[in-house]
């Protein structure tokens, strides 16, 4: 026999959700998914692992290095756990749905695995709820993503949020204009991603571009704010690609304003994070009280082509763990519900308890029974701990054989009644809709 003591450690980066936490997580996921389905998005389920080389087709190098990998015993090929669902969906669309009428509106709820240091509400296994809108290059598609994201934030009960919206092609146009090598471009991008004006200043001096380009580069860290940014940007920009990007962003912003959401959006022409991944308008959502973005997305028109099908697409995802942290920070209560009834039967046969619980469940109620034999007070303490609404006591000292005692646990108020009364007017006792899957 193995004499080693049992060591119940968890590996770094995973998280257990205990019942209350799991209920809060499920609540968040359901609010988001039901929102997605109201916009006409249909859920897809992708495999947890695939061949690493296939996933890598749609994954940038930094993320490839962070994939959890294992060896396929059948073929000896390398497998990887999904580190991002978008390449999986791109592959599915390219291989299985390419002949379907466009656009495709797809939703997902999934866990994602990345080998990285756990930080701000994100672990090595984390959960994402999101959508992909495939087959549209129009600004309306980008605006739909932004509007749905704002709706998602509202559905979670969050206030004081901002979507930071950029356009990846704006900076690409500037890089083209500079005609610099990749390493130098990378340095500029890094300085910009930190809005690090002093490093940017040094790099611009080294590159010594034409005066107008230098002026634009140095202005980039400050080119964020409300609508006026578009005008400021337009005055500085001199190349056609960046001008097109700016016009595209202006059109998306016009539509966002038509949705009545201009207040929720900050435009940031100097945003270059996620630049390698996105091809057009992209965004991240921030809320007051959480130091990291809790949702984000954007246009990735070139990814499907890597899977053999050239087709524009955009999408976004919420990080469920961060959404929960943000709600906690803003003190948004998540309703935690227990069963409608908790039945305590002191008779030896338990006949009434069994038949009553079955009939109440048939009507759509959630019913738990006390199976441990203990005193009434102890049973009531347990029932309160389970967040039950009513305790139904059968065979207690206060009631006759065909009667039961109903105790409303929140208030402690009691009433004696016949079992039949409960079944005749169930709506007085619990809400049938919230009963979940009731057959009433």
């Amino acid at each position: 026999m193995d004499k080693r003591p049992f060591q119940p450690q968890l590996p770094k980066g995973v998280k257990i959700y205990l019942p209350d936490e799991a209920a809060a997580k499920r609540n968040v996921e359901q609010r988001l998914l039901s929102g997605f389905s109201r916009w006409g998005y249909r859920e897809v389920v992708t495999p947890t692992y695939e061949y690493a080389d296939v996933l890598s087709l749609g994954t940038d190098e930094t993320l490839q290095e962070r994939m959890f990998k294992l060896v396929d015993r059948d073929t000896g090929r390398m497998l990887a756990l999904r580190a991002d669902i978008t390449p999986q969906i791109a592959r599915i669309v390219a291989t299985r749905l390419r002949d379907e009428p466009k656009p495709l509106r797809l939703a997902y709820l999934t866990n994602v695995f990345r080998y990285e240091e756990p930080h701000v509400g994100r672990y090595r296994e984390f959960y994402q709820a999101g959508v992909e809108l495939v087959g549209l290059e129009k600004p309306e598609a980008d605006a739909e993503m932004i509007a749905m994201t704002v709706e998602g934030l509202q559905a979670l009960g969050l206030a004081q949020f901002q979507l930071n919206v950029g356009q990846a092609d704006f900076f690409r146009g500037i890089l083209e204009e500079l005609k610099i090598e990749r390493g130098q471009g990378r340095q500029l991008q890094e300085a910009l991603s930190r809005k690090d004006a002093s490093t940017l200043d040094r790099l611009v001096k080294e590159l010594a571009p034409p005066a107008s380009t230098a002026e634009l580069l140095l202005a980039l860290p400050d080119l964020f704010g409300r609508e006026e940014v578009l005008e400021r940007g337009a005055k500085l920009v001199k190349n056609a690609r960046s001008e097109r990007a700016l016009a595209n962003l202006a059109e998306v912003h016009r539509l966002v304003r038509a949705y009545g959401l201009a207040e929720a959006v900050i435009l940031d022409l100097g945003e270059v994070r996620g630049f390698d991944y996105y091809s057009g308008v992209y965004f991240e959502g921030y809320v007051s009280g959480l130091g990291a973005p809790l949702c984000g997305g954007g246009r990735y028109d070139h990814m499907l082509a890597r899977f053999g099908y050239d087709c524009p697409a955009t999408g976004f995802a919420f990080e469920v763990g961060r959404a929960l942290l943000a709600m906690e920070a803003q003190r948004v209560a998540v309703p935690l519900e227990g069963p409608d009834f908790f039945i305590i039967d002191f008779t030896p046969e338990k006949t009434l308890a069994l038949s009553l619980s079955r009939r109440l469940r048939d009507l759509g109620a959630a019913v738990a029974r006390d199976i441990i034999t203990r005193g009434l007070q102890e049973s009531l303490v347990y029932a309160r701990g389970q967040r039950a609404r009513w305790a139904l006591v059968i065979g207690g000292p206060k009631t006759k054989a065909d009667e039961l005692l109903a105790i409303e646990l929140a208030t402690g108020s009691e009433r004696t009644l016949r079992a039949g009364e409960l079944l005749e007017a169930p709506a007085k006792w619990f809400s049938i809709e919230s009963g979940g899957g009731g057959r009433a």
């Binding site: 930080h119 809005k195 004006a197 921030y286 959480l290 990291a292």
Partner: protein, 213 residues
């Protein structure tokens, strides 16, 4: 409703020049000599935290502070995911490799292939040596780094110097410079967006102070 902004200030050598800058901006409320760690400028809706310099990036990255003042050396060492919009210009110092005079007299840095180094800056040290193809055995210390070569804990040290006085006092000589550092303003990514207008105003004001001759 506007949120009260929190600015994290570093204990130690950067505190005095940081407070001087804040005072010339009309911001007050921090008593440098007090043992208190948290101060408020009620009138301006600002709160100040006094923290160990190495903790400032963490406070700002997680949003426990919206802004912070911290040396570039610490930013390069920790690489926090924050905005870094302003070089404040003060607090100049250099990160250097140093060794005892006796070693220096017969040492040739071009021949290094393996070194044992004591430092507070393991990431920067590792990167500096590995870029030059040198294996480094790191002795991670938290203070009094200059002592390590004197007691045989390490052959060399990587540490910050301002005047070089501490090195000289301990019989050490500088052999190479790794980087130069000044104090930077850092900003939490979410704060810059969700508290867009008060944060940008504060950054603008600081910019004006820095630009002053």
């Amino acid at each position: 409703m506007t949120k009260q902004l929190t600015l994290a200030l570093p204990k130690g050598r950067l505190l005095e020049p940081a407070l001087k800058m804040l005072r010339s901006m009309g911001l007050d409320g921090v008593e440098a000599d007090s043992r208190k760690l948290i101060f408020a400028d009620e009138r301006r809706g600002l709160r100040f935290l006094i923290l160990k310099p190495a903790d400032i990036p963490t406070y700002v990255e997680y949003g426990a502070a919206d802004l912070g003042i911290v040396g570039k050396d610490i930013l390069l060492e920790q690489e926090p995911d924050v905005y870094e919009p302003l070089d404040l210009g003060f607090g100049f110092c250099r990160l250097v490799v140093a060794e005892p005079l006796a070693l220096w007299e017969r040492d040739d840095p071009a021949k290094w292939s393996w070194v044992r180094v004591a430092t507070k800056y393991p990431t920067l040290t590792e990167r500096y040596f590995s870029e030059r193809g040198i294996q480094v055995e790191m002795i991670r210390l938290d203070g009094s780094i200059e002592l390590a070569p004197l007691v045989g804990l390490a052959d060399r040290i990587v540490d910050l110097v301002q005047s070089g006085e501490t090195l000289r006092a301990n019989g050490l000589v500088e052999v190479a410079e790794i980087m130069r550092s000044t104090a930077r303003l850092i900003v939490n990514r979410a704060s810059l967006k969700t508290e867009y207008s008060p944060v940008s105003q504060l950054v603008e004001q600081m910019k004006k102070q820095v630009a002053r001759p």
